[in-house]
């Protein structure tokens, strides 16, 4: 029997097509989520501890050399001071060969994130979200007003043998303590033979 001869069967056929589309949509959505999949051992009561993810970014050279992308993500509350240098962990980028002197190669590829601060001095209290970077608003906790940060960034301090101490640094825009919730993502490239480690 052809489908147009029985309306009920036609409806079943439409229903099947809709189900297939829904399934494909969920699969594609899952793939999309996988791109930023975060599995943390932290409790849901906490911001996840800083973590590393391999990214889809790759630069491939004709000789077969591949620079692979990795992303370090972290977040924390900055409060109680006007100047911050908060250690996030130690990133180790090993050597592409057995020689420790060759360890530590990375290219800074991308830095982004968000900075959330609250304005409470204005007639209306509101949150403001800026991109992570110098100039992002923080809250002057003495007055409650927003103030531009003088500085905000991530630093890697080479400790030898490819070990970098990573710090989240910030300075408020004046001499009063400033506060903000920060989430940052730092993507870097290193040789594909190397698996960076966070400790």
């Amino acid at each position: 029997m052809r489908i147009n001869e029985d309306p009920r069967q036609f409806n079943n056929w439409i229903d099947a097509v809709v189900r297939i589309f829904r399934y494909l949509n969920s699969v594609l959505f899952s793939i999309d989520l996988l791109a930023d999949k975060i599995s943390t051992e932290s409790s849901s009561g906490q911001v996840p501890a800083p973590f590393l993810q391999k990214t889809a970014t790759q630069i491939t050279y004709p000789d077969g050399t591949v620079l692979q992308g990795w992303k370090l993500t972290g977040g924390m509350l900055l409060t109680g001071s006007n100047i911050y240098s908060e250690v996030q962990g130690t990133l180790t980028v090993g050597s592409f060969d057995e020689n420790p002197a060759n360890a530590g190669f990375y290219i800074a590829y991308d830095l982004r994130g968000s900075v959330k601060a609250m304005e409470t001095a204005a007639p209306n209290t509101f949150d403001v979200i800026n991109s992570f970077g110098s100039g992002a608003d923080m809250q002057d906790t003495t007055t409650g007003a927003l103030v531009k940060s003088d500085y905000m960034g991530v630093s890697l301090d080479d400790d030898g043998n490819g070990e970098y101490i990573i710090s989240l640094k910030a300075a408020g825009g004046n001499a009063n303590p400033c506060e903000a919730e920060v989430f940052y993502q730092f993507e870097f490239l290193c040789y594909s033979e190397v698996t960076p480690q966070l400790s």
């Binding site: 996988l34 999949k37 599995s39 051992e41 932290s42 409790s43 849901s44 009561g45 906490q46 911001v47 996840p48 501890a49 800083p50 973590f51 590393l52 993810q53 391999k54 972290g74 977040g75 924390m76 509350l77 409060t79 109680g80 001071s81 006007n82 100047i83 911050y84 240098s85 908060e86 250690v87 996030q88 962990g89 130690t90 180790t92 959330k116 409470t120 906790t141 003495t142 007055t143 409650g144 003088d150 500085y151 630093s155 301090d157 400790d159 101490i165 710090s167 640094k169 300075a171 408020g172 825009g173 004046n174 001499a175 303590p177 400033c178 919730e181 960076p196 480690q197 966070l198 400790s199």
Partner: protein, 197 residues
């Protein structure tokens, strides 16, 4: 409550008196470091297909629930002891509060219970009690290095003239709660290097 009066558990900036009591005070049976460094998970690397373990030998260790109970007990004894100084009572109250909050989170985590907040600010609380590393351990070398770097970088940033050129801390970070009966006698005393404790 003035806006600058921060709950201790939310504070990134540590007070030296809290740091010292947690790390070196003989009245505390479980010695801890009051750190903002998050505990690294066992699997810090997720490639999408495989997890690569972090170097576990350098991980900081969080106190167990029993140890957190002991910390709370000791801190409570100090803060309710009439003979304790105002600074001691204030520091003990902050440690108690951090330990209490950490215990709640840890307990729910172990029971696989979900935690929900009204505001992300609560989730972003920063200070954690981590067990004081053993002498000669990799963890001790790590925390000594971290605290050294932190002070160095703060000095560096202030020398560049950012934020007025000097490190300024909140005046009333010392109160655990607006209703707290225990407050330290003086404004924040910035943390010091662990090597100096």
């Amino acid at each position: 409550m003035p806006i600058e009066e921060k709950y201790a558990a939310d504070a990134t900036v540590k007070d030296k008196r809290v740091q010292e009591m947690a790390y070196a005070d003989v009245r505390m049976q479980v010695k801890t470091i009051t750190e903002t460094v998050a505990i690294q998970p066992k699997t810090a690397v997720n490639t999408g297909t495989e997890d690569v373990p972090v170097r576990v030998e350098k991980r900081f260790v969080e106190p167990s629930i029993d140890e957190l109970d002991l910390i709370k007990e000791d801190a409570n004894a100090i803060k309710t002891n009439g003979a304790s100084s105002a600074d001691d009572k204030g520091a003990a109250e902050i440690i108690w509060e951090v330990a209490d909050r950490q215990r709640t989170v840890r307990d729910k985590g172990q029971k696989k219970e979900k935690i929900r907040y009204r505001s992300s600010h609560e989730m972003f609380s920063s200070i954690k009690l981590l067990k004081a590393p053993e002498p000669g351990s990799d963890q001790l070398a790590k925390i000594l290095k971290y605290s050294q770097k932190k002070i160095e970088f703060q000095t560096y940033l202030s020398s560049r003239g950012f934020a007025g050129g000097a490190v300024v801390n909140s005046q009333t970070l010392l109160k655990g709660k607006a209703t707290s009966v225990n407050a330290m006698a003086a404004p924040v005393q910035p943390e010091v290097k662990y090597a100096d404790l």
